[in-house]
């Protein structure tokens, strides 16, 4: 244990004295986030959508007309729909033609009767062409009512009576409390992707550290001392993990407090993802240097694969792949797994996806360390 701590301590000292790498690892992401976050800001701008003005004419006089009225005029929907009451179909069509309303929602006289009789019925929408986004908002709102109503009706038919369907916009209210904001701005986006990129570049610490202190002349000399192989290996790995993790925390702190990047409120999960990615990065560097037995070759390989991982993960610029191969390929990139997990955590994505991504990272980390140990075993033979 004491020998492992000796390896750990002196590796940390060496890493800290390597000011060139240290500055590169700390300053580059900070500068890059500033440049990319500023230059590509317009790509991340989201215009506020004002409520869509719709006309509403309800000719139903049956028992269900009140439910739809209550729904369409609810407080929640006012943020997305501005409902104008129409006196007649003619008025609705005139105002539609005049461009005063985007769509006309119409319930006929038999709406309640047909629903209660179990017959097929419709809510009619007449829309002005040319604004598909706003029209899709109207359609989605009405669909949410229909789904809710269908579910309530089904419950009633099953005997669980007494349900009156009122409104269905609770999807918004179900967002996790940890979610902060709806979509990342450019600074938020690059704070995450550049942090992930530079954690991955931490692999260079382990490839050069392992190359020098495990495989090269100094490494052989250390192996000639009474240290156990596991102490030697773990001392180096833990020192490199701590070095990269501390650097990641510095970048994290800088982006959070100086750039105001949004890291959400669920910081323990974000840190868990970061430390897991640090293990992936150190494991990757270790694995490649153990397989190639050459620090130079390992460094060259890492300088190729890390930018590729970053690119396919959309680290430099947001990309979305179509088809099946490229999206599948994305899942092989540790950057993609880490970025997705962090974005999910910060912006309230599904927990299951975050867990899956974290699981993927853990698998990669375990895989890289296992392969490196097997490679070392093979070389010893």
């Amino acid at each position: 244990m004491k020998r492992m701590l000796t390896i750990f301590k002196f590796t940390i000292i060496k890493n800290l004295r390597d000011t060139g790498s240290l500055l590169h690892m700390l300053l580059m992401p900070i500068v890059l986030i500033l440049i990319l976050g500023t230059a590509l800001n317009p790509m991340f701008q989201h215009n506020e959508i004002s409520p869509t003005v719709v006309g509403y004419l309800n000719k139903d006089a049956g028992p269900l007309d009140g439910y739809f009225d209550q729904f369409i005029k609810s407080e929640d929907l006012r943020q997305v729909l501005n409902v104008a009451m129409m006196e007649s179909n003619e008025e609705g069509h005139e105002r539609l033609q005049a461009g005063e309303i985007l769509a006309l929602i119409y319930l006929d006289e038999d709406f309640s009767r047909r629903v209660l009789a179990g017959e097929k019925t419709t809510i009619d929408i007449t829309a002005r062409p040319g604004n598909p986004l706003r029209l899709s908002i109207v359609e989605n709102v009405l669909e949410s009512f229909i789904h809710g109503a269908n579910a309530t009706e089904a419950l009633n038919r099953m005997g669980a009576g007494g349900h009156n369907y009122v409104h269905t916009v609770n999807v918004i209210e179900d967002l996790p409390v940890a979610a902060s904001g709806i979509m990342p701005g450019s600074m938020d986006y690059y704070a995450v992707t550049m942090l992930v990129l530079f954690i991955m570049y931490g692999a260079l610490y382990s490839s050069s550290g392992m190359g020098e202190s495990y495989l090269a002349a100094v490494g052989k000399r250390i192996k000639g001392t009474p240290i156990k192989a596991a102490e030697h290996y773990l001392g180096l790995v833990s020192a490199n993990v701590i070095t990269v993790f501390v650097q990641a925390l510095i970048i994290f702190g800088f982006t959070r407090y100086f750039y105001g990047a949004n890291w959400g409120m669920n910081l323990p999960v974000v840190f868990a993802i970061i430390i897991t990615l640090v293990f992936v990065s150190v494991g990757l560097g270790t694995m490649i240097v153990m397989l190639t037995r050459s620090e130079t070759l390992a460094t060259s390989i890492l300088h190729v694969i890390i930018p590729v991982f970053t690119f396919i993960a959309g680290g430099y610029i947001k990309i979305s792949f179509t088809g099946t191969v490229l999206p599948a390929l994305q899942h092989l990139s540790p950057n993609y797994l880490a970025q997705t997990a962090i974005f999910n955590t910060v912006y309230g994505g599904p927990d299951s996806q975050t867990t899956a991504m974290l699981g993927g990272l853990i698998l990669i980390a375990v895989g890289t360390f296992t392969v490196s140990m097997l490679a070392e075993r093979r070389a010893w033979n």
Binding site: T6, F10, D18, A217, V218, P226
Partner: protein
Amino acid sequence: MLLEIKGLVKRYGDVLAVDHANIHIQEGEILGLLGPNGAGKTTLINMMLGLTRIDGGNINIFGKDSIRYAEAVKKDIGIVPQELAIYEDLTAAENVLFFGRLYGLRGRQLHCRVEEALSFVGLDERSKQYPRTFSGGMKRRLNIACAVVHRPRLMIMDEPTVGIDPQSRNHIMDSVKALHDNGTTILYTSHYMEEVEELCTRIVIMDKGRVIAMGTKEELKDLVSTEEKMVIKLSAANFTLVDKIKKINGVKECVFAEKELTVIVDKNSNNIGRIIDAITATGSEVYALNVEKPTLESVFLTLTGRTLRD
């Protein structure tokens, strides 16, 4: 017996890197390990340190199996690798301190030993400097300091003087002698015959993975030579003197040319006194006498069919 290697084998595929090697070292010896590149010297050292798997045979160090008791055995071994094995971004003192800790030294004892080791190699004035500011020779000396910090019983020095200036080389040679005087047993490999000849009490010659000869310098020279050559510078000579010398027991050949008498005699014939008597009896004066014996280089050439640096 401090070190005993029996039937040691290392294979790389079909190649026998070490072929049933048998070597032993007594406590207090300096054993020279001679051999060209690829002879198996470094592989043998790597197996002693557990850096390479042993395919056959065994190594006992300090009476213990070197694999089974690796940790205990390694505590008393110092290594000076062929390549520089020091950290450029740790100071000289930190380098020695680092290895001292790995050998289990702690506290005040560690700090005293670090000073002692640096002083031993003449780097005590530069303890706080980084090796990147050192000359090649100084780095080599630091390489040695890292190996002596724990006062090992057995020191393995793999070509410690490669590529350095004569001054540093002399310093290292003196260090090796000082270590030996302190009772350290040394296994010394080198390309330089003169170093081995000067330092080592016994020599092992390896070639193509095999130990082809082992013994003292004299024993090895005896292996390859049955004759000695004497070159005597005279004031004058004549044919009568040459005939007289040829008749001395053990003299095989005698030639006079350019005031030099060249006499080939049987080794161990001990007839040098009678040859000098024969010369002085003729009234001639002897200005100089040189007895040429076989060198290790010629021994190596004879045994392996090539020179050491081939």
